[in-house]
Amino acid sequence: MSHAHRPRAIDGQAPDVFSRDDTVPMRQFADTDEVDFAIVGTGCGGGVLAAKLAEAGFSVVAFDAGAFWRPLSDFASDEREQEKLYWLDPRISDGADPLEFGSNNSGRSVGGSSVHFQMVALRFRPEWFAARSRLGYAIDWPVDWREMWRYYDEVERACAISGPLTYPWGPDRGRYPYRAHEVNAAGQVLARGAEALGVDWAPTPLATVSAPRGKSPPCVYRGMCKIGCSTNAKQSVLVTYIPRALDAGAEIRDLAMVTRIATDRQGRATGVEYHRDGQSRFQKARNVVCAGYSIETPRLLLNSANARQPTGLANSSDTVGRYLMVHLNDAIWSVMDDEIRWYKGPPSMACCEHWNYIDDHPDKDFDGGYAFMSQGPLPTDYARTLVTNSGVFGHELRRKMALYNRMAGLKMVGETMPCADNRVTLAEETDAFGVPRAHVTYAHDDNDRRMRRHARAFMAQMLEAAGGRDLLETSSTAHLMGGCRMGADPETSVTDSDGRTWDVPNLWVCDGSLMPTGGGVNPSMTIMANAARIADRIKTLCASGTSERAHG
């Protein structure tokens, strides 16, 4: 096992992620080269964008504060060791419902949070892209769902998603590149419960292959997904788009923390200040893209304030950092008569989107939707859930953990409403690089509470219908969305539909923070599809010579 303390992508070589210790050639740029794009963050947004822009012939340097792992030799089957994948730098969290950060929502690695995500690969419901005009809540996306649907196709192919042949909800989505995996016992609990209640269920579309794919062997169902897959069956950005970016001539700078975006007197971005290997450096760039996710992207923009934009870069609308969203992640757990061994296989092999596709039902007393999935937490993770939620300890905790192999659970991914006061600001306190820490304020609203109540009752009913007993409820949140939302109106959004900030024509955002609404499904595919779309938009804008938009 290794912790990467020193950068590995150096001297014209980058780690070969399909090997234990090999490298592959990498093009490198000097700090003084004015590259076409400096991208901050290499996750679902930045990784996809870096690959597609490099493939289109742009010069690209992509920075990540995290390490460049080789999963085959760097990842251990050990929950403690693998905490190296998370963004654990302190953030100040307050508000009526302070958020927890780290393993549940933020990664720090080349490949971003996709290195440790749980691979659930769902699409938004089409109507959510027009939530305000078609469903009467929140706000519309500045993008048509059909366009997004095409890009879902593209990224699902790129990640060889394994999914069912027919998906019960929403418009037809063609055939997933790989067949669905065999649903494990934990997933069959959901399936039995759903059949007993007469609602649809499906094997979850997952970003891990069910048959060989080149150098990726098929999934071996050991269930270590959340702490990083050590076989490369998982089709994370690290093994899909990052190698593509390298092949196309992008440079990836690992362990490179960007602290500030520099601007000239006209207010245009000129490059990024960053720290790497003990040095402070500056990379010149024609365009800068923020792709650090919902906390770090706003933090970077706020910290890059200048004389002309004293409240933060691209923040004339005072929207940077606002409309931060999470997913409600409440769960119901129960003891089953049969042995389940829920740790086997990816953690969420069966899903139910029933309440995402229902609008008029006497029982539905909330806006937005929620999905839920079967569960398979690793032991420490589950113990932590028990302790933080029910305060059990000592003998009682031991008794509860002894039931580990007979447990089943259902966990929701519930849409929260975008709210201006849920936001990221800068704290007084600074980090090791002297950058003010992120200060995150969060409160749930009544809609969240109603949805949570509804989901808990429904999931409990389903678990009982599947034969579960001794039900236990737990509460948490997952995923981050918004914080630098895109929109049609410069007064209420940070960027236009292309991810270009309204205020600075050569500054872009391309990650989960663009999302105007959160939807009731896990966000990675939507972030990737949006990034793939933005890459094509940038290509079109450059080809037509309109990349220099005269606004702001």
Partner: protein, 290 residues
């Protein structure tokens, strides 16, 4: 060439090309040899059928023993398949007398197994849907045991009429086997283009054989025979592919204790060799060889 960072771009075309090349050489040689050895006396149909039953039985034995072992033999009836496959295989190879009851039991148990496997699929949530067809008890597999028994019983065949019946039966068994392969290779997302071979060659071989069964025609019999030889060669090459397939699981053959179970079943493609032998025996019988 600059080494590539990315995963293999396309399907595994290199190994597919190698395999198809091997098949062309092997299959071509088999067909050419058929022309040359024409005047020499062929092995008797009876011997071919015994060999066919033995190969099919051995394939069934390995497959059912491994799969039912993996299932922990949690139902005692699961022991029946490997035990009978072993008995029928031994009976066929050793030319043991009085084996009729054993082979007949194989047929009966194989048929019953189809019911068991069907029940296993139906009882899962979702019933007869794609996912259960992929992953529950394989729907057609027990048929292989029944086919073993029938092939062993058929080794007494000696008339041209028997030959026609055997040709018809073999053609249908080949089509059933093809259907099973199609299902499982579809599950594997056809990740290697060579996975299309066993759903292409066998139906052609079966069609030519079926034609002989329905309208015996000496003029096209050579083609039918050639197709059987090609199918047998495909069984050999397919075994190679499955061995390679196991190596593509995490840990490859070093981790054979897991991967021999989780990878493609190495014993499966040989069933096409068995069917090809039976097909050739049928054609021999039709040509009047006792």
């Amino acid at each position: 060439m600059r080494p590539s960072a990315r995963n293999t771009r396309n399907r595994d075309t290199r190994s597919a090309a190698l395999g198809i090349g091997a098949l062309a050489i092997l299959g071509g040689a088999a067909i050419l040899m058929q022309r040359r050895t024409q005047p020499k006396p062929r092995p008797k149909p009876r011997r071919k059928l015994r060999r066919s039953a033995a190969i099919m039985g051995a394939s069934m034995l390995v497959d059912s023993a491994m799969e039912h072992f993996r299932g922990g033999f949690h139902n005692k009836a699961m022991l029946a398949a490997p035990v009978l496959a072993a008995a029928s295989t031994l009976g066929a190879t050793a030319r043991a007398p009085h084996m009729l009851p054993v082979h007949a039991t194989s047929v009966a148990v194989g048929a019953a197994g189809l019911g068991f496997h069907g029940y296993n699929i139906a009882k899962r949530p979702g019933g007869f849907n794609w996912d259960n067809l992929f992953y529950a008890a394989p729907i057609g597999a027990p048929g292989g045991l029944a086919v073993t028994g029938l092939l062993a019983l058929a080794s007494d065949a000696h008339t041209a009429r028997h030959g026609r019946m055997l040709a018809g039966f073999t053609a249908l068994a080949t089509l059933a086997e093809t259907a099973e392969v199609a299902l499982l290779h579809f599950r594997g997302a056809w990740h290697n283009p060579a996975m299309y071979l066993p759903v292409t060659i066998p139906p052609i071989a079966a069609a030519l054989l079926l034609e002989q069964a329905l309208h015996p025609n000496p003029k096209t019999r050579g083609a039918a025979r050639g197709a059987q030889r090609l199918m047998a060669a495909m069984g050999v090459v397919g075994t190679g592919f499955h061995i390679y397939g196991v190596s593509r699981q995490m840990g490859g053959w070093h981790n054979w204790r897991q991967n021999a179970f989780d990878g493609p079943p190495v014993s499966a493609p040989s069933s096409f060799i068995a069917l090809a032998l039976s097909g050739k025996a049928a054609l021999d019988l039709m040509e009047g060889a006792p």
